[in-house]
Amino acid sequence: MNVNVTFISEMIAFVVFVLFCMKFVWPPLIGAIEARQKTIADGLAASDRAAKDLALAQEKATAQLKEAKAQAAEIVEAAKKREAQLIEEAAEKAQAEKDKILAAGHAEIESERNRAKEELRKQVAVLAVAGAEKILERSIDAAAHSDILDKLVAEL
């Protein structure tokens, strides 16, 4: 238990061990540990970022979906409006066509009637002359009495 040269040898051993540990043991071990810590920290940061990105993307997607829905509704609305407009236009056009056709018909009927009237009038004039001839049993000078006949025709 007395202090002797063992103490000096142990001190040399101690110094050698510490130097060896300092040069060859500690740096690679702590380096590996710190590198791993960094990797893990980076990984965690990346996952945080990814989660944030995901949330952002989801938000964006939701907003886009909403917008798309609104747009679709708008388009449907516009289409409905257009449809109604088209129907109205078609109806108007049809009405106009109908009116036009009716007017044309009326006009034709009118002219036909007028023509028939004219025809009838002329025939009545001839008949009247023929009747008068028969009544008078004599020939009336058509030329001399044409003014009377014309008058008659006009009166019909």
Binding site: M1, N2, P27, L29, A32, R36
Partner: protein
């Protein structure tokens, strides 16, 4: 062993507490009793042998892991070694705030080496002496930290570092000034301060060495006393004392490491 008729308990105990000695005598190498007169020039070959062997075990295991250490997924052994390294690193970081590449490896070496040397206390006290007796070695103490030479060597190694860093950081004048200006503020009391502080300074390695030595020596002594009970020891005392050393052995290694860090951290503090 203890029940053996030829040796008394006292002889048994003193046998187990005797180091294997080696010295130069009569122009040759002599052992044990022949070294009674060698005084300072006696070498405890058991202490030296076991401590160097355990130090090599420590460095071999750690170095083999360090060589293959990679930042990726670590193996099981690498995990275990890294746990120790991180534990030491955290201890260093919590009390030492400078940037010194020596402190952490020093703390690791002290912690693991002292732990391994202390752990030899768990080896049954008769196992190694009996085996050594078979190959003709009469005396062997297998726990190096029960030898004051071992603990004093560690403590003085730390002490020189304290002195070295104190002077390196503060300069000789600054170091002397630090020893003189406290605890008493008045200049007339500076010599008193100096004497007090030098005693404090010298007490540090001494307390480091004696604390470790005392704890382990006492522990070993009790183990040997228990062993003198003969066969009865296996029914309790030996087991209980060994279990108690689950606390003592790591605790003493930890205390030695922590105090080393604290003392060196104080040496780095510039007031």
């Amino acid at each position: 062993m203890a029940s053996s008729a030829e040796i008394t308990s006292q002889e048994y105990i003193s046998h187990h507490l005797t180091n294997a000695k080696m010295c130069m005598a009569d122009g040759g190498v002599a052992f044990n009793y022949a070294c009674a007169d060698a005084g300072f020039w006696t070498l405890h070959i058991d202490t030296l042998g076991w401590s160097v062997f355990l130090g090599m075990v420590f460095l071999y295991i750690f170095r083999s892991v360090a060589k293959k250490a990679q930042a990726g997924v670590p193996g099981k052994l690498q995990c275990a070694i890294e746990m120790v390294v991180e534990f030491v690193n955290d201890s260093v970081k919590s009390s030492f705030h400078g940037n010194n590449p020596v402190i952490a490896p020093l703390a690791l070496t002290i912690f693991v080496w002292v732990l391994l040397m202390n752990a030899m206390d768990w080896v049954p006290v008769d196992l190694i002496p009996t085996l050594a007796g078979l190959i003709g070695i009469n005396y062997i103490k297998s726990v190096p930290t029960t030898d004051i030479n071992m603990t004093l060597a560690l403590a003085l190694g730390v002490f020189w570092l304290i002195i070295y860093y104190s002077i390196k950081v503060k300069g000789v004048g600054g170091f002397i000034k630090e020893l003189s200006v406290q605890p008493f503020g008045h200049w007339t009391l500076y010599p008193v301060n100096f004497v007090l502080e030098v005693v404090t300074l010298l007490a540090r390695p001494l307390s480091l060495a004696l604390r470790l030595f005392g704890n382990l020596y006492a522990g070993e002594l009790i183990f040997i006393l228990i062993a003198t009970m003969g066969v009865w020891q296996i029914f309790g005392p030996h087991f209980l004392w060994a279990a108690f050393h689950l606390l003592v052995i790591p605790l003493q290694a930890f205390i030695f490491m922590t105090l080393t860090i604290v003392y060196l951290s104080l040496a780095h503090e510039d007031h």
